[in-house]
């Protein structure tokens, strides 16, 4: 077995006893290099086709402006929905001094209720009589309705 290993050592230096024709490698190298196909995409890669023009400031900020406008619109819509769904919370009275002054003026309110609110004044008097509010009222300055009626008849 040792002898056989020696045989392998002995043959190692040869190319397995194979040969090539004279000048084969030089000829092959020359032919091979000459026959390499053209590869324009490798050897002449295209330069960037378009040099994009510089964008103006407005063009650069436009997307952000549009986005801000969109959010503002959404916020306004939410506010509108809130107002519609909670009308009592429309505005606090302190924030509307004209309305506060009008409601604080008793004469104005009485005139409003009697003349403009479409409420029958006799209904108000009946209500006041029912809850005893009329006892606090001073009717001394008023003419007797019965007298007025008789006078009217007499006239």
């Amino acid at each position: 077995m040792k002898q056989n290993t020696d045989i392998l050592e002995k043959i190692r230096s040869a190319n397995g006893g194979m040969t090539v024709p004279e000048g084969y490698f030089a000829d092959f190298n020359r032919r091979m290099a000459a026959s390499l196909p053209e590869r324009p995409e490798l050897e002449h890669p295209a330069a960037p086709a378009v040099d994009f023009p510089r964008r103006s400031l407005w063009q650069r900020v436009r997307p952000y402006v549009y986005m801000a406008a969109m959010f503002a619109g959404i916020w306004l819509m939410l506010q509108l929905f809130n107002i519609v769904s909670h009308p009592g919370d429309l505005r606090p009275m302190e924030a509307n001094p004209v309305m506060a002054e009008a409601l604080g003026n008793e004469d104005f309110m009485i005139d409003y209720i009697i003349n403009d609110a479409g409420i029958d004044q006799w209904d108000i008097i009946d209500e006041m009589a029912a809850d005893g509010s009329l006892s606090d009222c001073d009717f001394s300055g008023l003419a007797d309705p019965a007298e007025n009626s008789s006078n009217d008849i007499q006239e």
Partner: protein, 185 residues
């Protein structure tokens, strides 16, 4: 036995530069044509077939030279292409002749006996026949280790087999060749 050349870093850089890639690849051909030739020849035995496979090897390498990133050895990359081309050729020949993998051994021995490009050394001729009797994978491992003295790590990268399996494969191949010579004597 052809030494496996080690290309310098400048050549690798020139392969990556579009302006110099063609000249650099011509240099790669000059460097590697001989070791690749012998690697292929030891597989297919015939000079004419080897010549065709070597051309295909370089054409394939040229067609995908941009894929060579330099993180692997240039020699490993080229050997891998050459080995694949050789195996593809042998498979095509089997299919063309309608023979099995086992029967191809006899066909290769016939090719060896018909080969005219030899130096007449009978011992070498016997070794070629002994190597031809090995299974395809063992033949590849034996050729790379015995003739080219390649590192197992490099063979592992080329063949995609673990170093341990390659060592076992080479050991088996040597045993079979020794047995071949013993039986022949």
């Amino acid at each position: 036995m052809a030494e496996i050349p080690v290309p310098d870093e400048a050549l690798i850089q020139r392969l990556r530069d579009p302006a110099t890639v063609r000249d650099a690849f011509a240099e790669v051909i000059n460097l590697f044509s001989e070791p690749l030739y012998w690697q292929i020849r030891r597989m297919v035995q015939s000079h004419d077939d080897t010549n065709d496979i070597l051309q295909n090897t370089f054409l394939k390498a040229w067609g995908s030279v941009e894929n060579f990133r330099g993180d692997a050895k240039l020699s490993t990359w080229l050997y891998k292409i050459a080995v694949n081309e050789s195996i593809t050729f042998l498979a095509r020949e089997r299919k063309r002749a309608g023979i099995s993998l086992d029967d191809q051994e006899a066909a290769i021995i016939n090719t060896i006996e018909a080969d005219k490009d030899i130096d007449g050394d009978l011992l070498s001729l016997r070794l070629r026949k002994a190597v031809a009797s090995l299974p395809e994978k063992q033949r590849l491992v034996f050729n790379m280790k015995y003739y080219d003295d390649m590192k197992y790590e490099d063979i592992s990268e080329i063949l995609g087999t673990s170093v341990g399996a390659l060592k076992a494969s080479y050991h088996l191949a040597v045993k079979k060749i020794e047995q071949f010579f013993s039986d022949d004597d």
